[in-house]
Symmetry: C2
Subunit: 229 residues, 2 copies
Amino acid sequence: MNTMKFAVEPLDTGASFKTKAYAALKSAISQMGIYDHPSEIRLDERQLCEALGVSRTPVREAMALLEREGFVRSVPRRGIFVVRKTKREIIEMVTVWAALESMAARLITQRATDAEIRDLEELFLGFSDAGLDEHLDEYSDANIQFHQSIIRSSDCTLINEITENLFVHIRAIRKITIQQNDRAHRSIVQHQHIIDALKKRDADLVERLVRDHTLDLAAHVEKHCDFLD
Amino acid sequence: MNTMKFAVEPLDTGASFKTKAYAALKSAISQMGIYDHPSEIRLDERQLCEALGVSRTPVREAMALLEREGFVRSVPRRGIFVVRKTKREIIEMVTVWAALESMAARLITQRATDAEIRDLEELFLGFSDAGLDEHLDEYSDANIQFHQSIIRSSDCTLINEITENLFVHIRAIRKITIQQNDRAHRSIVQHQHIIDALKKRDADLVERLVRDHTLDLAAHVEKHCDFLD
DNA sequence: ATGAAAAATATTGTATACCAGATACGGTCT
DNA sequence: AGACCGTATCTGGTATACAATATTTTTCAT
């Protein structure tokens, strides 16, 4: 039988409206700058349905997920509101992040190849060249990307999943946390030390460095972010 | 005005059918012994609706949550299946647990009162008296309770929330992980060391002890739990 | 004009009807 | 008899209708 190749793509059958709505809503919340506006932000369910072009059911199921993950809060017969984390909750998130990333770094010393660690270093060098004093905003992105790279390199799916949601909130307040240039500079130095420890494959050292580096941020939030409450 | 107490309970108005269904389903999944049966376990949506006495909508919303949390997997037009974690996923869960509980222990050394640490010790003593060689199953429960107590004492809501879901899976394979008496005995000794370190408020030491103790379990699963896949 | 009561409105929670795809079974053609 | 196709049925996905309640507006009596 003359079967010629037809090159059909697998057509993503897994993407239901619910899944798409979830992705769209989460993306929208991530980008909206939760902590910029002073007032509570309310989401109109019907309006969202119309915007997404689907009925309430998939939107509601997506909302239920976002509520469980702490992004929104649904008050019966009142509305759905975007959640603003309190200072304490932010600190808890940073603390969990510190615990997970330090474990990720430990895993890297045990499992990563030399090439993978070299990739991390090159990524880091690119970042530190890019944004120094001038573009703090860009550097803030690079900063988070550095940490995400470490977590990704650990090759632990679960740590990646958990921290992904944390970073959505962390990113939202990133602008404030790097307001002082000192932090940016110290940050680069500490990152260099972390890379060095990874290259030496010193598990205990790199774990301590990563943990303390991130807990520094927690302490900084504790001191300077009273406006959150 | 003569207002006498009437002792009416707050009648949880916040508990919607969706919430109740979520709790009921999660509880059922937790207790069903996921890894006992060899075959895939399928849940019938409409059957569950009838059993719970509600319509499909709240059950479906609850299912969406459970799917996001990794307890079930919904295949369109096929059915909803209870998820069996692979060996690798179990090890990842134990690894995350190790990271979070060691951080929790660190927090205890910084924030807990002497009385709280004493409570932990008494709890531990009660456990070790209770189940020794004979009732390994009970000891396994006590074992997990010990770890949960540490996490609870850290007073970090987020760590509590994350580990709660992990423990549902961990508990499901606990019976296997304590099959060797050595593990139970070694476990008690290590727990004693952890308590001692907490009393000395030695953050670095207790962090290391908790981490290594839990990572021991990860290594044990790696070696002896091939049957999971 | 003002206050309260009542009705209209808005919004989420729930139930149900319908849709589309996947499987199993049975019939038909070879 | 066996391969193949159509249909019947079962399943989860989606849309919509209905219910319950908080809010806002309207209305009417004082």
